[in-house]
């Protein structure tokens, strides 16, 4: 193999299929049934994860809470931010504290214009200053999402995108795409796309 090719293959943005692919670094989601289905045994780090939801508030944050807690505990040295970009409501500090997250590390970003939102999310991901970046982004073209993914890889920060379920038909560069649906006993999770894994479904994942 020529040097140029070897160099190309080492590029972080390039994923190789088959046995050669390493297990991506991941943080356990805290839900055993979900971890079993995810390559690496949890949420992939340093990339983009897309959560498609029918309506805000069905439990999508609770699904992330154990991982966020773990990530903020594991971060060495200078404490980093958990960035909330354009959330539908304001995160409630007492509830965050109850959930074991330090409210002082929360960074709420509410840009006025849509373009600023993508820019801000890219900055937050690329800076390496965030343990996780949560963004509520509606319509975004493939190119914009690809930029976010590259920024996440560069800054080694996981980016979680919350988007309306209507976007499930569109293609997306996200390494992991889940469709969530509310259920009386929890969430029905459909793994739409999983880099290094298989599409599958988990019914009635209890999250509370």
């Amino acid at each position: 193999m020529s040097d140029a090719l070897a160099e190309l293959l080492r590029h972080p943005a390039l994923w190789q299929g088959g046995a050669g692919g390493e297990m991506p670094a991941a943080v356990p989601s805290g839900f055993r049934r979900l971890d079993e289905r995810l390559p690496g045994g949890g949420w992939p780090l340093s990339t983009l994860v897309e959560l498609l939801i029918p309506s805000a508030g069905i439990g999508e944050i609770h699904l992330l809470l154990p991982a966020l807690r773990q990530l903020s505990l594991a971060s060495p040295g200078e404490p980093r931010w958990i960035a909330w970009l354009a959330p539908p409501h304001l995160p409630y500090a007492p509830a965050l504290a109850d959930a074991g997250l330090d409210p002082a590390r929360m960074l709420v970003i509410r840009p006025r214009a849509g373009l600023d939102l993508l820019w801000a999310m890219e900055q937050a991901l690329r800076s390496g200053a965030c343990t996780a970046v949560l963004g509520w982004i509606g319509a975004a073209d493939n190119r914009a999402l690809r930029r976010l993914k590259l920024a996440a890889e560069e800054g080694r920060s996981p980016g979680f995108l919350f988007r309306p379920a209507a976007h499930r038909k569109e293609s997306s560069p996200a390494a992991l795409r889940l469709v969530l649906a509310a259920h009386d006993d929890g969430l029905d999770v459909e793994i739409l796309k999983s880099r290094g894994g298989m599409p599958s479904r988990i019914d009635r994942l209890s999250i509370h």
């Binding site: 029918p54 309506s55 805000a56 508030g57 069905i58 439990g59 999508e60 944050i61 609770h62 971060s75 060495p76 040295g77 200078e78 404490p79 980093r80 931010w81 959330p87 539908p88 409501h89 304001l90 995160p91 409630y92 500090a93 007492p94 509830a95 965050l96 504290a97 109850d98 959930a99 330090d102 409210p103 002082a104 590390r105 929360m106 960074l107 709420v108 970003i109 509410r110 840009p111 006025r112 600023d116 820019w119 801000a120 900055q123 937050a124 800076s127 390496g128 200053a129 965030c130 080694r156 649906a181 509310a182 259920h183 009386d184």
Partner: protein, 512 residues
Amino acid sequence: MLEGRPATRAPAPESHRRALAVVPPGMPPAADGERRELWLAAHFPRLPLHALLPATASARAAVVTAENDPRRGIVACNERAARQGIVAGMGLNAALALVPGLRVEERRPVAEAALLDRIARWALRFTPVVSIEPPCTVLAEVRGSLDLFGGAMALCRRALSGLQDGGLQALLALAPTPRGALWLARADLGLSVTQARAMPDIASRLPLSCLQWPAETVTALTALGIRNVADLLRLPRAGFVARFGPRLLDELDAGVGRRPEPRRRHIVPERFDEQHELPVETDAALILQPALERLLANLAAFLRLRASGIPGLRVDLLHRARTPTRIRIGLVRPAGDAAHLSGLVAERLARERLPAAVTAIRLRSGVLLPLSLRDAGLFERGQSADPEATARLLDRLRARLGQDAVFGVCPVPEHRPERAWRIAEPGGTTPLPGQWPVTRPERPLWMLVEPQRFDSWEGTLVTGPERIETGWWDGHDIRRDYYVALTRSGVRLWLFRERPPGSGWFLHGVFG
């Protein structure tokens, strides 16, 4: 414009100078090895007034009263008020009885200190050795500057006219010791002494009041029949120390030159201030940006030499015949890195709508702060967060989105849900977790800023009621029964009903 008796105050009249064996200025140095210093004291008895009112506001009688004083004693008054019989030390009621339409201001020590600082900075044009004597005197060692300014009298005249131009009323005096000059200026004798030998000679003309010693000390001394500094100097030293302590004796010795008194020099903090003239008038970023980069590179080099960072930056874009466009950039953490600063300036510049073409760019730093230097790790690379990265991200986001678009949240120990948190500066300190009632029922992760009426909802109540009934003491009392509800679409909500029931449902939070 000077109120009161002007310039005659500062230079010593001819007769006094001869009588007190004052050496005329510009004489060759004394051969007896005496310390050759000459201090100029500028005393501002009306500093509290000057700090609050511009000199132009003298058309009306005005007084400044002591702060936090129930009697509101008068600290200073302007000339017009003085002519109508108001003197310092009078109570405000007495003053108002004399002059009903009196303008009254409360003393502001911060403004006074700032004015004194400005005066000290101005005094640096006469000599590099300037020292502030709070509350209202500036001292300057001027021996070395006498030749340059044409002698002591010429220097005093120049200083006085400069202060007058600034609307300040000053009493000037020269003495071989800083404290001696201070006494002379406060005593308002119109006297100057240039030889240390002469100091004890004029001590008999210095009243006790010019020492500004504690009132009880002055009362005790007056009871002993002591009227002036000469009387004090005649007292037995050991007895004086036993009675009034060694500090006052040291002061006395320093005043007459028996003991050196080192003064703390007023040093003007270094700042960066550079202007770059553009080759052409333009508002094109293509030309502005490189000019800015050059200025920022100079700034970064300036900061690197001093191992300092800046907490903020001011960029003025100068226009022809128009007020400059001023851009102010605040930093979360002092920084001195050109790339970071230039990124911030570029973001801000992109948002700025320039009213006209730019002729020049001026870059100014605020105060310099020491930067904690950090060793670059030898082995770790890119793993843990760069300690500066968190602050930098904040700076960059705020430069483009605006200050208010980026914030943090902070819990507040309070039972009313809407008051149990507030918006805070990101990264602020969190109260200890021990303060929180952790046994309370679960709270929603999303909170509405204001509860919303929520009458037509379909679903089931999961838990509740949790009664929250509190806050009667501050008029924002709440009486509510909170429930967790699950809607048909599977969203868990935090709802409440006012008590007594009947007013319908309100939505307050979403569990998310």
